[in-house]
Amino acid sequence: DAGITQSPRYKITETGRQVTLMCHQTWSHSYMFWYRQDLGHGLRLIYYSAAADITDKGEVPDGYVVSRSKTENFPLTLESATRSQTSVYFCASSDGGQGSHEQYFGPGTRLTVT
């Protein structure tokens, strides 16, 4: 499972600060995804990327920014953190090839905004 990693694993930040969550995968997967996990909401897609330099919004993109200059990295930035962004964030990747869209998940980042 070392193929997809996230950092930091835990982060506490203050309201209004900018924070970046990192995601790195070693499989050269084309697709990468960011989800947030909240009780009662399950997993909700924030942003996804089909390839380097191609990103698109998911279900809950407001307040987040992504970039993908390299295939293996997909950082997620909270431009001005709010308490409502306290959550567990999961990054995932998929090769998006024919036959299956199985996604492989990172270990998650637990973010607390105070």
Partner: protein
């Protein structure tokens, strides 16, 4: 747009009892269905997918297109099955290509 519904947020059974986690979906085309499992404070991992039709850890799931369901079943639950279970759907074309739509999840607790 596609949707996945898991009607039970919490499900409790005793060890050795059968367990069924329900999943219903809405999608007009041919979806790919998955079950993911998340053990306490761990990453999500794939439990099974309907395409492979295999049994993992004693769990099975059959895609019922008529009822648009993909229920997860195990005849004899074990304590180590206690976890959060997510049903997910992927579409194989269009603008949603490659994305998974998740249900809200079901927390399964297996009591000794």
């Amino acid at each position: 747009a596609q949707r996945v519904t898991q009607p039970e947020k919490l499900l409790s059974v005793f060890k050795g009892a059968p367990v069924e986690l329900k999943c219903n979906y809405s999608y007009s085309g041919s979806p790919e269905l998955f079950w993911y499992v998340q053990y306490s404070r761990q990453r999500l991992q794939l439990l099974l997918r309907h395409i492979s039709r295999e049994s993992i850890k004693g769990f099975t799931a059959d895609l019922n297109k008529g009822e648009t369901s993909f229920h997860l079943k195990k005849p004899f639950a074990q304590e180590e099955d206690s976890a959060m279970y997510y049903c997910a759907l992927s579409v194989l074309g269009g603008t949603s290509y490659g994305k998974l739509t998740f249900g809200q999840g079901t927390i399964l607790t297996v009591h000794p």
